[in-house]
């Protein structure tokens, strides 16, 4: 399982990517889906997930749809049109970052 610090910067791109592939999802579903896809390596903490979802909503990248489930309200998160445009930008930046990290950590020390 990766540390919370490592996951901090990649949470928003993960959410955007998942929503681009699944149309609409609710919080619990997002946590379970990420856990499943990553083979239990990425466990999103609820304390990070909801602030990120609300921040993305306030930035205009997500919108919500409320549905009654039993006697409670379930909020589904969906991408807005500007959110759809943001997905590729966020993924490109993240993949580029991953590539740079690879270059840094795989570089061999110069022999003296």
């Amino acid at each position: 399982m990766y540390s919370r610090e490592l996951l901090k910067g990649i949470l928003k791109p993960i959410i955007l990517k998942l929503l681009s592939e699944n149309n609409k999802m609710y919080g619990y579903e997002i946590v379970q889906k990420v856990k499943e896809i990553s083979g239990d390596k990425i466990l999103i903490k609820e304390g990070s997930l909801y602030p990120a979802l609300h921040a993305l909503t306030s930035e205009g990248f997500l919108k919500t749809e409320s549905v009654s489930v039993g006697n409670r309200t379930r909020k589904y998160y969906k991408l807005t049109s500007s959110g759809t445009g943001q997905v590729q930008l966020a993924l490109n930046e993240l993949l580029d970052f991953a590539q740079t990290l690879k270059v840094i950590f795989e570089s061999k020390p110069i022999a003296s």
């Binding site: 006697n71 379930r74 909020k75």
Partner: protein
């Protein structure tokens, strides 16, 4: 298995009682707690046991911490910008007052002009720095009151 109305009310009461006042976040967390509890109930655990596990898993530092993090994330940009503006306005107002005084003594500027400069500085100071100072004090006192 969907948990019953009393159990949902119990979870909602827990969230409200522990400082989750944001209604959107309340709906999110209530559903998340319910989903987690339902999964645990299906594995044969009691409601009390499932609820305790859900609290430990979802909000180990208390649900209010999630709301605090959310508020921070939503307001940080605005707060930084506001502070910048107040700092710049405070600097300009103090500069205007000091310049007014400094140029008045050697009579580089006329008495009216320096008076105008000092008054403009005082006016700017009183509509930016002073209200912000009291607003900050107010926020701090509310925070202290809540933690007592």
């Amino acid at each position: 298995m969907i948990i019953d109305e009393n159990q949902v009310s119990f979870v909602r009461g827990y969230l409200i009682g522990n400082g989750v006042s944001n209604l959107d976040l309340q709906d999110d967390l209530l559903d998340h707690f319910c989903c987690t509890i339902e999964e645990s109930l299906e594995e044969g655990r009691s409601f009390d046991h499932s609820f305790s596990d859900a609290v430990e898993k979802i909000a180990p530092e208390g649900p209010e911490k999630i709301q605090t993090d959310l508020n921070y994330l939503l307001t940080i940009k605005k707060n930084v910008m506001l502070r910048k503006l107040v700092f710049v306005a405070s600097y300009i107002s103090v500069l205007a007052i000091l310049m007014g005084l400094a140029l008045r003594i050697p009579q580089i500027l006329s008495g009216d002009a320096t008076l105008l400069l000092i008054m403009a500085g005082m006016l700017l100071f009183s509509v930016t720095t002073v209200p912000y100072f009291f607003y900050e004090r107010y926020q701090k006192s509310i925070k202290e009151l809540k933690t007592e």
